[in-house]
């Protein structure tokens, strides 16, 4: 689906005059226009090929002569790395094709000679949604023997989960079992992806070049969506976007802070579609850097050389290193430096669950305080991952907002272990003044797209800030005059405080841009249950008893209310079940279903609810209901943007 382009011209049978003509025709075209010309030529060539085998040009690459790169990506990192490999391979003159896993033609696997797979592992050992079929096929009985395959797998994961890189490991083992030979050994990249990925890509490229060096260099151009991504700005060269608005969109008494951020993309050449994410390069909170320097007893002004650069320590910590998220390597270094027995114990494989809990619960500052060690600045920097950008699902459609991009940001800001804690990017964005600048890039997400057919219905499930892309979807469908119906499920804690974009949804309902809106406010309905009890007694009950009881029930020893609270929270998945019949009917009518938000609980609960309602309303067995949902995933009618 995506582009892989060779900028160096291969040998051609065209005569000099034709080449000159082409040069004249294409003079002054922008890169995007030139890519379009290339795509147009490629389409012509494909037509000619289909017209007759005799017209097949000599430049067609045989499977044996090309590197196939397949990626499975949930948040876009695997895709980005795969694209990087494709670009570098092309630049090196290798014939290459780049495919998203669900676009990979499975019957071609047997003929494949050079295969690179870049794939992430989700949550508890799940493949990304776009790679489920691919992973199943390779694991399954129908997978062909692959005696002549050279392959390499780069797995992506998060070592704080027990099933770290499980999918990458599984594919690597299975391809070998099928007879393949590794041209690069399995790479297991942690959250600091580049640390492992960069050397792995270097090796993979080198080996592929060696293996394919006899082949004729050929360009294979399949540019579709990706053309616009070849903008001047990228992950590595972000655009400094001006902050147009930074507005809190929860009420003053909300337990959380959520911001609506509007950024200008004017002059950036960046383009996006609803469903895409915006990458943000944050700076760490200055107050956190100060906490670190205090805990480390180190001077922030001190110049420190690391990886060929010399910066002040404060600068390293503020702008270059990940200091809000714990990693295993950091814990390991800390444990070894301080010879802390309990930390060392935690690093044993049997303790992986406890380590994972620690890595999610605590921030590095907590460990720095808990396990004081005399750190050398250089050792500290080596133990820390490079700062990575954060991705936010875009909350606007360019059709509605022009050269702007809007985000919905939950500000991570909490007290723990007696001190303030912050999230890096959300704190950075929340502190951004209007007219301030934020380094950004577009991370496209082809798996999270509105249906090409504007008459299709869509169902959007986006509790919390998961609602962001659906604001973009509804804007887009409104602006483009799509005729399909739009159904949104939104949930949060409190109706009065946390109904994100409430007035916009109300307007959309009035205008007919949104057709249904179902809501779940988890902390509201609970309270009803607890409170009704005191007042809804029968008229014959002595009210004085009720009043006494009511006063008593405030005592800390009575936790009847807490019990009621636990058992009566209402979430979006409950609303899905309540509307099961209709929801199923929409899906059977071809509706596309989207889920965005928390992956740890919500996405799983929603997934389970969908299976349940298919069983209940489609008369399917549990297995068939599962298969039905998997099929929706395969068809791309059930897309998830979860994190």
């Amino acid at each position: 689906m995506n582009a892989a382009v060779a900028p160096e011209l291969p040998a051609t049978t065209l005569d000099a005059a034709k080449v000159a003509q082409l040069a004249q025709l294409t003079e002054g075209l922008t890169p995007a226009e030139l890519y379009w010309v290339a795509a147009w030529s490629a389409a012509k060539a494909a037509q000619a090929q289909r017209a007759g085998a005799s017209a097949r040009p000599a430049v067609g690459a045989e499977p044996s002569q090309r590197l196939t790169i397949v990626y499975g990506s949930q948040t876009g990192n695997a895709k980005r790395l795969a694209e990087q490999l494709a670009r570098r391979s092309s630049d090196a003159g290798l014939p290459v094709r780049l495919l998203r896993a669900d676009a990979y033609p499975q019957r071609e696997l047997a003929q494949e000679r050079y295969l690179a797979v870049v794939i992430s592992t989700q949550g508890e050992g799940e493949p990304p949604d776009d790679a489920r079929g691919f992973v199943e096929f390779i694991a399954g009985k129908r997978a062909p023997k692959l005696p002549s395959l050279q392959f390499g797998v780069l797995g992506l994961g998060d070592s704080s989960y027990p099933q770290f890189c499980a999918i990458g490991r599984q594919l690597d083992a299975r391809l070998a079992e099928l007879g393949g030979t590794r041209f690069a050994s399995l790479g297991e990249a942690d959250v600091d992806i580049e640390t492992i990925a960069t050397p792995w890509l270097d090796t993979a490229l080198e080996r592929a070049r060696e293996g394919l060096k006899t082949a004729t260099p050929v360009a294979r151009v399949t540019p579709l969506h990706a053309v616009s991504k070849q903008a001047a700005h990228s992950r590595e060269q972000p655009f400094a976007a001006t902050v147009l608005a930074n507005q809190r969109i929860v009420a003053r008494d909300s337990e959380r802070d959520v911001r609506h951020i509007e950024l200008s993309l004017e002059g950036s050449g960046l383009h996006y579609q609803p469903g895409d994410a915006l990458g943000v390069w944050p700076r760490n909170p200055p107050a956190l850097v100060a906490q670190w320097l205090e805990a480390l007893q180190l001077d922030g002004e001190r110049e420190v050389a690391h990886q060929g650069r010399t910066l002040s320590l404060a600068r390293w910590l503020g702008a270059e290193r990940e200091i809000t998220q714990l990693s295993r390597p950091f814990v390991k270094t800390l444990a070894e430096l301080g010879k802390h027995a309990d930390l060392l114990d935690l690093l044993r494989p049997e303790q992986s669950a406890r380590l994972a809990a620690l890595l999610t619960r605590d921030q590095p500052i907590d460990l720095l305080r808990r396990y004081p060690v005399r750190w050398q600045p250089e050792a500290l920097l080596a133990a820390l991952r490079p700062l990575t950008p954060r991705l936010y699902s875009i909350a606007s459609s360019p059709k509605a907002v022009g050269e702007e991009v809007h985000l919905t940001v939950a500000v991570v800001d909490y007290e723990a272990h007696g001190s303030a804690h912050w999230g890096a990017a959300s704190t950075f964005l929340a502190a951004a003044d209007e007219d301030g600048r934020v380094p950004v890039f577009i991370e496209s997400n082809e798996r999270f797209r509105l249906p090409a057919d504007p008459a299709r219905d869509i169902i959007m499930i986006g509790p919390g800030t998961g609602v962001a892309p659906f604001r973009a979807f509804v804007q887009e469908r409104q602006e483009s005059g799509a005729t399909g119906r739009n159904w949104l499920f939104f949930g949060n804690r409190h109706f009065a405080q946390d109904f994100l974009y409430q007035t916009e949804w109300q307007d959309a309902l009035k205008r007919g841009a949104l057709h249904r809106l179902d809501l779940a406010f988890s902390r509201d309905d609970v309270r009803d249950v607890a409170r009704e009890s005191a007042l809804s007694k029968s008229p014959h009950t002595d009210v004085r008893d009720v009043a006494r009881e009511s006063a008593l029930s405030k005592s800390p020893h009575t936790d009847v209310r807490d019990v009621a609270r636990e058992s009566h929270k209402i979430y979006v998945q409950d609303r899905l079940r309540e509307n099961g019949a209709e929801l199923y009917a929409w899906l059977e009518g071809g509706a596309h279903l989207y889920v965005c938000g928390d992956s740890a609980h919500m996405a799983k609960d929603v997934h389970a609810a969908l299976i349940e309602l298919a069983a209940a309303h489609g008369g399917l067995s549990p297995d068939d209901a599962k298969a039905w949902l998997d099929d929706l995933l395969q068809q791309g009618r059930y897309a998830r943007d979860v994190y």
């Binding site: 507005q247 969109i249 007042l535």
Partner: protein, 569 residues
Amino acid sequence: MTTPLSDFEHVKAASRFLRGGIAEGLADPVTGAIGEDDGKLLKFHGSYQQDDRDLRDERRRQKLEPAYSFMLRARLPGGVVTPAQWLVFDCIAREHANGTLRITTRQTFQWHGIIKRKLKPTIAAIHHALATTIAACGDVVRNVVSTANPVESPAHAITYAWAAKLSEDLAPKTRAYHEIWLDGEQLVGQHAADRPEAEPLYGATYLPRKFKIGLAIPPLNDVDVFAQDLGLIAIIEQGELQGFNVAVGGGMGATHNDATTYPRLADVIGFVTPGQLYAVAETAVAVQRDWGNRSERKHARLKYTLDHRGLDAFVAELQSRLGFALQPPRPFRFDHNGDRYGWIEGHDGRWHLTLHIESGRLADVGERRALTGLRELALVHTGDFRLTCNQNLIVANVEAADRARIDAIVEAHGLDGYRRQSAIRRHAVACVALPTCGLAMAESERYLPALLPKLEAALERHGLADAPILLRLSGCPNGCSRPYLGEIALVGRGPGRYDLRLGADFSGQRLNQVYRENVDEAAILEALDPLFARYAAGRTQGEGFGDFLLRTGILAPVSPRRIPATVVA
């Protein structure tokens, strides 16, 4: 009538006896509000949709709708509340509302800040406490008020019984209330479900505007009987209730800069026996139903009907429909329109304790834990409670032996302010205004605590600390706090700005007049200071501040305004 009906007349007509789309609006989870027309219909059910105006602009920027909530008002004829009811009302205040109970100037309770989905369970809880909210607001006969302080206990009891009867019998008969709020449930049968629905008195469009009835027992005019559409003055001779003088056409509401609107005191038109009372009240309501202005709501009160059609024409129509003539009014005399604080012994040896409640707001704030104190009282009290039209509270019918216990609770919760507060503080009345009231143009209840010390200081300087001066604050000209009967009154014009009105008497029988228009606090204090000085120097024994201003010519008497015939169709 050639002039078209006002929009709301059409809404009422189409409402199917006050149903409208209220039930659907309550069920809509996307908004904390209900539709605009339904909001108006909701008043008949006893509730106003409001929003926290302090937060309005902030929430607009947060892409959140206004912080909607509902004010719910009970209908408590004569302001009588049993301890059992009190405990339920207290529970509602704490659990469904904003943690306060508000005593209104119509002798009932208001709860503020009830969110939409709590409205139904709250109304149901009130119903289960054998009270109701229907007709607490709306174009109907509102809560019927009656003198709260039982001076002549037997006559008081009979007068209260009349208030209760009028309130109950003149209430709307629609089944919509039970249908919407009580799932059709009936606790005390009044409307059998199989009878066809009808409003024999009101008809499908109810009254043109609200209709207020009050009963006063001289010499106390605590209900401000001349501010009522229908004021009834009990005539008691030798301890026996003889009947009532009838006064019609009182009303406080006005609109700034509109001379066709004005406050008006009721005219006494005759005397009726107790046996005639109900027919007179019902017929007066019926004439206003038929004659009232249904094109222009701000001219729809009975006072404008009278001034437009003529008082004589109204009385003639009333007597013609009744089939009998009213007797000439009997003599009466009112001493004052305030409350009598402290303990008073009734004729039967039972005691009544009147407590001052600032602005009628029962809340727990710091040391002053009025809400909790009253709950404690309700748990032990064997008599009842009376709310007054001056926003105060009477712990009524206390056995002599229980007085000490009541006093202890009162003192422990800071409710004994009546013992030492300045006179002006004890005679102050303020409407709710900001942040909840949608009509407010300026602060009222929230401003009173800031204003009072300044007035107290000025009065103190002039040796007037003990002068009982009626102070009334209103956030707008509509007059919930009956500001036009204040000896000193501030009527809100805009943030921090008021009309300063002076010159009412001390018994609710003379309206005040504008002394300074649209001024701020500094100008108000500056205007009052020299007047206090002259009052201190020149007042006669027991002379009220308002009376003094007129006697000495500082204020000239003003003739009552009347609506020009041209503005009423």
